[in-house]
């Protein structure tokens, strides 16, 4: 029964997104990737496989994060603003189910966009005669897990702030959490044991999206995939963090007057 609810809500999000031509943005971005690769080819950089793969990973990371954030941030505020929320909440479904269904929809849209970009990037990489390795598949799977975390983070921010503020915060954390954590480690080492727990707590609360990016590893030639245990741990982190984000969003949304 619950799965039917999630499926119905997610299908509506995906259909709306496709028909609103959100994914055209992805297609345009993909076209730019192809164009850029063509330009590099024109300047005679064939053979720079490492550079090409690294660039492709960075571009994928950037564009997929933007799609994830923009899709997730506006779901809830838009529903409230356009009052499409009323007929949904009038049904015998809980607000938690509604959040989960919406998140699932955002994740599917993001995954579709990401896979489209991956396909276009793969086409672009062939111009550099890049050899495809198993780690690239692993890169895609783990990146998809990271996008789930980012979608959940954006949705949660949007429950507490305007879509614009939520998007800004999400983008900052998507690309800056690594830098922030490094700063925290430096600060942690400089303070006494009495206050170190605060830094630990902040570091634990921050989304560790960098761990889902195997782009650097995949860019190298001949590197082996990471072990199954690591993938499992990443999966558990994704599930835990996403669950926590949904609960935080629900804490605000569950009794919110609409």
């Amino acid at each position: 029964m619950k799965f039917r609810i999630y499926r119905a809500l997610a299908r509506a999000v995906v259909l709306e997104s496709i028909r609103r031509k959100d994914l055209w943005v992805v297609a345009i971005l993909g076209f730019l990737i192809l164009l850029a690769s063509g330009a590099l080819g024109f300047f005679g950089v064939q053979g720079l496989q490492l550079f090409a793969k690294d660039l492709a990973a960075s571009v994928l990371s950037l564009f997929s994060a933007v799609v994830a954030v923009l899709t997730s941030c506006r779901l809830l505020p838009e529903e409230i603003k356009q009052r499409t929320l009323y007929p949904l909440l009038a049904r015998p479904i809980s607000r938690l189910d509604l959040l989960i269904g919406k998140l699932l929809g955002a994740v599917i849209v993001t995954w579709i966009a990401f896979l489209m970009l991956c396909a276009l990037t793969a086409v672009a990489l062939t111009t550099f005669h890049v050899q495809f390795e198993p780690i690239m598949i692993q890169y895609i799977i783990i990146k998809m897990m990271g996008l789930v975390v980012l979608c959940a983070l954006s949705l949660t921010f949007s429950a507490y702030m305007t879509p614009q503020a939520a998007a800004t915060m999400s983008i900052i954390l998507a690309f800056g959490s690594g830098v922030i954590v490094r700063g925290l480690i430096m600060a942690y080492n400089g303070v006494g044991p009495a206050t170190q727990w605060i830094y630990k707590l902040i570091a634990a609360a921050l989304p560790q999206l960098g761990v889902f990016d195997l782009g650097g590893r995949a860019a190298n030639i001949g590197w082996s995939p990471v072990s199954g245990a690591v993938v499992l741990q990443l999966f558990l982190y994704m599930a835990t963090y996403t669950g926590a984000m949904v609960l935080i969003a629900w804490a605000k949304f569950r009794r919110q007057a609409v």
Partner: protein
Amino acid sequence: MPMINTGMDAAIQVTDLRVRYRTKKGSWQEAVKGLSFQVARGEVVGFLGPNGAGKSSTLKALMGFVQPSGGEAKVFGLEAGSLEAKSRMGYLPEVALYYPYLTPLETLRLYGELEGLKGKALQTEAETLLETVGLKAAMKKQNRSLSKGMLQRVGIAQSLLGNPELLVLDEVTSGLDPVGRKELRTILKDRQSKGATLFFSSHELSEVDMLCDRILLIHEGKLVEEREMHDLKDELRKYVLTYAGQNPDALLGQGWTVAQGQTFSKRFTTKAQLMAALEKVQAAGGTLVDVVAEEGSLEDYFIETVRRAA
């Protein structure tokens, strides 16, 4: 007022309901201030009041969209807003907005699935409802291409999904043309004949007049009038008696006007007054020309009651 013994017998039971909202400045504003009323099963009740009276807030509390700050609202004896209560209700929001890029059929399928309907039964019910509300030709067009009235019809269709026992309709005729209103009346009367309870807010007093068993009138979050429609109509009805004969001033008292020549007429506000006057006219040898019953204006009643309450 129908006899209701307990909340379990009532479709809606609202007791000392209070709803408040936080303003942009951070203070609280009370939209509903201790409202109490009941709606019996199978009843059609109109919920009236001027803009900002607290109608929508009350309906939202019934649906669980806002949490009451005091008192309680129950639906079929269940806590308002609970999943069990909502599974027995249909709701039409005041402003009908639906996913712009979905079609009416997809919209109904979405809500139907959330209602627990599935498969071919859902498809058939969605198509039938859209046909009933006159959207057969537009059921596969995207909602964004539909007019306001057509979107209202989508809203009405979605509120009827799953054959709910209680229909809560906020500004039910909003955006509908006269044909649409007539069709809506037919649909609602059909639902009522099948045992559904209807509770709706409207500014269209003619609709209220034609549909309701009872009205609740609220002003500034408080109930100011609760009337049986039948009694109210009787009360508002006026009778004009016209007779031919001699000048009535000496025989029948003041207030008669000359209608034409030796014909006089007078307006009576109750049936008893009319009957008494008739007797006097006959006793005085007058000839009865006409008795006309004039239906009273619900609008005037509404304006006057609100003015008094204010």
